[in-house]
């Protein structure tokens, strides 16, 4: 018990004395994950809309496949991408391995299934008349899509947060394709993994707390955007 207290205390102390090295790592983490989310969002939105609103043969199987892809371990994504980007792999010429760009690609692959699956379930539960009404009232295809997103903002934001949570917290693909190289591709989670490996649990926890505090900040900001949602009664 005592050691846990000491370690937590130490973690908090480290957290308050922000140093440039720490902020560098935080910068890499958020840059990579936010970029990955932003890039994944448009295709995921379109795919989700397609799966929710257009009936085509095999649609049902496609939904199951998207859901399944949520269960792909991050190390597997890392592995596959590593083999593709390796010098001996088909895309080796691009020299992307161990760069932030490669990490972004990995995280896009991880974010898209969860984003698509969550957005699909959100759009699926949205009233069909919403789309019809918008189109009849003169909305273009994109304007109607934007209206749908606003109508489903609770679900959309929940999907974004779940996807963001998944990729900011993942370590398997980041360490495999990024390489955890100091000053280049070290993220909060790969740094935590490293500290843990060294047995430096306090440092690991401190980084974990930093990550959580920043994630909370992001959430509160989004919460303000989302509004308070419907009020309720008891029966």
């Amino acid at each position: 018990m005592n050691e846990l207290m000491v370690t937590t205390g130490e973690a908090l102390r480290l957290l308050v004395s922000f140093d440039p090295a720490l902020w560098e790592i935080i910068g890499v983490s958020f840059r990579v994950s936010l970029t990955a989310i932003l890039v994944s969002l448009p295709p995921s939105l379109l795919l989700a809309l397609l799966l929710a609103r257009v009936s085509f043969p095999g649609r049902w199987l496609a939904i199951s496949v998207v859901n399944t892809l949520m269960a792909v371990p991050t190390v597997v994504v890392g592995l596959v991408l590593f083999m593709l980007l390796s010098r001996s792999g088909p895309l080796g010429e691009l020299r992307l391995l161990f760069t932030q760009r490669a990490m972004i690609i990995g995280q896009i692959l991880l974010a898209m299934p969860i984003l698509t699956a969550m957005l699909h379930s959100t759009f699926q539960s949205l009233d069909q008349r919403a789309w019809e009404t918008a189109r009849l009232l003169g909305a273009s295809w994109f304007q109607a899509l934007w209206m749908l997103i606003r109508e489903a903002r609770f679900g959309v934001i929940a999907a974004l947060l779940a996807a963001f949570g998944r990729i900011i917290a993942e370590v398997g693909s980041a360490v495999m394709i990024g390489g955890n190289i100091e000053h280049f591709t070290r993220t909060i989670t790969t740094a935590i993994a490293l500290e843990t490996l060294k047995g430096e649990f306090a440092q690991g926890l401190a980084l974990g707390l930093v990550l959580l505090l920043l994630a909370l900040l992001l959430n509160v900001l989004l919460g303000v955007m989302r509004g308070r949602g419907q009020q309720t009664v008891s029966v």
């Binding site: 919403a130 209206m147 109508e151």
Partner: protein
Amino acid sequence: MLEVCHLAHGFGRQPALWEIPHLRWRGESLVHLQGDNGSGKTTLMRLLAGLEVPRQGTLRWSLDDAPAQPPPCPGRLLYLHQQPYLFDTTVAGNLHYIARWNGWRGEAMRRRIDEMLERCGLAEHARQRARSLSGGERMRLALARAWLLSPRVLLLDEPTASLDRQAVRDVAALVGALHASGCAVVLSAHQPSELTERCDEHWYIAHQRLGVETREAPLPA
């Protein structure tokens, strides 16, 4: 204006709801579509609006001297759902959506929206969330959205069902004015009212057939 050939529709394994061998409508009459619950009024309107694809047959609109085309004709043909969908924002926000979609801007647009809210008795509710409106107010807002757009064809699915008497009179007057200015209108309603009295053409759905009956246009009220 509207030309329908051998149209038939149904759902699932059921036989056809109805068949319409031929129907040609010049759009100059004010049409009252009648039929019992489940006879297919809503379905017919959705087909006319292009929201549903017919099982069989064709359906063409020629609007504004453009060549005949199947629906949808967004922006020019408007269908008002029997239970309208209100966007999850304020009452005024619902109207602003339409302004944005149709590229209207500026002070004139804002004044037009205020005027429309006033006319539909929603001025006091402008900042209220649309989803918290009463049943009649919801329909009023849906009608306000329609009036704002001034389409060429208006398909109104039981617009007066939840309105109070004064509102029914107002709608009747407005539909009359729109019709006079050249808008083609089809409306359905179970109960007779000032609105249905204005109609000079009646389409009946019964025994899976559509019947048409015209009578003299009434004098303007």
